[in-house]
């Protein structure tokens, strides 16, 4: 059940996120337009990007790419990428997987569904990862697991805190059991980082589900979530099929998780950087000279 619904167009209204940037089409002026699925306002893509991918009219959040995310929280020119050469192979020779990978790379402009590195945030050095929604919806295969593991290992060695942004449909089923093994592998690396007395802050963004939720997304010392983010183990469609009943409107949204005790705080995009900076400093982070 992990990874269910990665490729299927959502039929369920809960999964059809109002935050997804869809329907790109050139407007009258030739500029690319998107319609906000929440308030139906037509928006220029450039304006949306300049506004942190938040609808200027109604405040709905659109999904954010990994690079945009890193830019939004890291100090200017401080990000240094790590492990960019670690990319997915096709270990099981799964039908059509090479093709899907090529499409994902073209669509996202990234070699893999996570971007890792070191950076400073409010001057404080840290290790950071951000997952990429446009790359097979951040599904976890061996390369993704390897990059996250390497990042935690390096952060442990260099005594750095880790800040992570998750977005994932779950396991990458084309890598079969090897994708499942990444849950254990990454969990081990997070544990060692924690055993060394180091801080891990995980920010859950829309959507975070399946094997990523059941591993490093839920292992932070502090777990933050973006408003309205869908976070769960099973996707809502799978649950509706199992239970044969409609789910409540805000089920599995960040606010629901806060109420049930599974996230520490909901933090808006505009407050994200200052919140992370505060938390890093409260855990002993000092600005590098």
């Amino acid at each position: 059940m992990l990874g269910k619904g990665i490729f299927k167009k959502p039929k369920n209204t809960l999964e059809a996120s109002p935050f997804e940037a869809t329907a790109k089409k050139p407007g009258a002026s030739g500029e690319v337009c998107v319609k906000c699925p929440a308030c139906r306002t037509a928006l220029f893509l450039g304006d949306l990007a300049a506004n942190g991918r938040i609808c200027p009219r109604c405040g709905a959040y659109f999904r954010m790419g990994a690079r945009e995310r890193l830019d939004s929280v890291c100090d200017a020119d401080s990000f240094e990428e790590l492990f960019s050469g670690v990319v997915s192979g096709d270990p099981l020779r799964f039908p059509d997987y090479e093709n899907k990978l090529a499409q994902a790379r073209a669509r996202s402009g990234e070699p893999e569904a996570v971007v890792c590195g070191t950076a400073r945030l409010g001057g404080v050095p840290m290790a950071i990862f951000a997952m990429e929604p446009e790359f097979m919806l951040g599904s976890m295969g061996a390369a993704l697991g390897e990059k996250v593991t390497l990042l935690f290992e390096q952060a442990t060695l260099n005594r750095l805190p880790v800040v992570g942004f998750t977005v994932s449909g779950g396991a990458r089923m084309q890598e079969g059991i090897l994708s499942l093994m990444q849950m254990a592998k990454t969990s081990g690396a997070v544990r060692r980082h924690g055993d060394a007395g180091l801080l891990y802050i995980c920010v859950l963004t829309d959507p975070t589900t399946g094997g990523v939720t059941a591993s490093f997304a839920m292992q932070g010392d502090i777990t933050l979530a973006e408003p309205g983010a869908l976070v769960g183990f099973a996707g809502p469609r799978v649950i509706e099929q199992t239970m044969r009943q409609k789910l409540p409107e805000r089920f599995q949204r960040a606010e629901f998780l806060l109420e049930k005790g599974f996230v520490d705080a909901i933090v808006g995009r505009r407050e994200m950087k200052q919140t992370l900076s505060l938390l890093l400093r409260l855990h002993g982070g000092e600005a590098a000279v």
Partner: protein
């Protein structure tokens, strides 16, 4: 046997379940209930027992045999409290320096409203993280279905063994066929592609040992399993517990064919 035949054999209703393995391999089994947080998940059976004289902790995912039992056991699909119960027993095993034996047989962790409300993802994430550092020997045996994260939760072990006709996969072949190809009739093909049989998983290094089955008579298998478990747990027990956890880390660290 083809992959889909293994899937069918692993799910066959007459197949022995976790409790059958406990009853036929261990002595003095005493069941310990509850997670001390919410309730007692009957899909997970846990307790203390002796194995060839050695005190051990035993944890099994239990599907049940009759319809009544299956309903009681939620068909072997655990809720978060089941994983928290298992983790509680693992921590006790660590405290009392007992090894842990897990029997895995589940279609997957339960997908439902209650399971989500009580943090299914967090419960699995926690047991995975704890098991990666658990300072006592752990052996997991896949006896039937090994369904995704719900199975892995009890299979972060020093050695993972598998019955000849058991299967272990990130997703069911039905789920894979319907999601990837939108075609449920291609389930057999999906089963092949997922490499979920004991032979495939041995070749991939996901399991250390495949235990041959002898038709419907499981007595020879129980006898062999008892001997093998006792021997391996004694040998793992001779290793320093912290070194053992480090070896377990390396065991999982190696997974992934990646172009560097």
């Amino acid at each position: 046997m083809s992959a889909i035949e293994s899937v069918r054999a692993a799910r066959a209703s007459g197949r022995p379940t976790g409790l059958d393995f406990i009853r036929n391999i261990f002595e003095d089994f005493f069941e310990l209930h509850g997670d001390r947080r919410f309730g007692d998940d009957r899909a997970v059976v846990a307790g203390v027992a002796r194995l060839d004289g050695l005190p051990v902790t035993v944890i099994a995912l239990e599907k049940g045999h009759t319809t009544k039992e299956k309903l009681e056991r939620n068909f072997g699909s655990a809720h978060p409290e089941g994983y928290r119960k298992a983790l509680r027993q693992m921590k006790l095993a660590e405290k009392f320096r007992r090894p842990v034996v897990c029997f895995v047989d589940t279609a997957g962790a339960y997908c439902g409203i209650g399971a989500e409300e009580r943090g299914q993802g967090q419960a699995i994430a926690e047991i995975l993280m704890e098991c990666m550092g658990l300072e006592t020997p752990v052996i997991s045996v896949l006896i039937g279905e090994g369904g995704s994260g719900g199975a892995l939760a009890l299979a972060v072990a020093d050695e993972v063994w598998m019955l000849q006709n058991a299967v272990y996969s990130v997703i069911s072949p039905e789920g894979c066929a319907s999601i990837l190809w939108k075609d449920a009739s291609r389930t057999a093909e999906a089963a092949e592609c997922l490499k979920l049989t004991a032979g495939d998983l041995l070749a991939l290094g996901v399991v250390e040992r495949v235990l041959p089955e002898t038709g419907e008579d499981f007595a020879p298998l129980y006898a062999r399993l008892k001997r093998d478990l006792a021997e391996t747990l004694r040998s793992l027990g001779a290793t320093d517990a912290r070194a053992l956890a480090a070896l377990r880390y390396e065991r999982f660290r190696k997974f992934g064919v990646v172009k560097a």
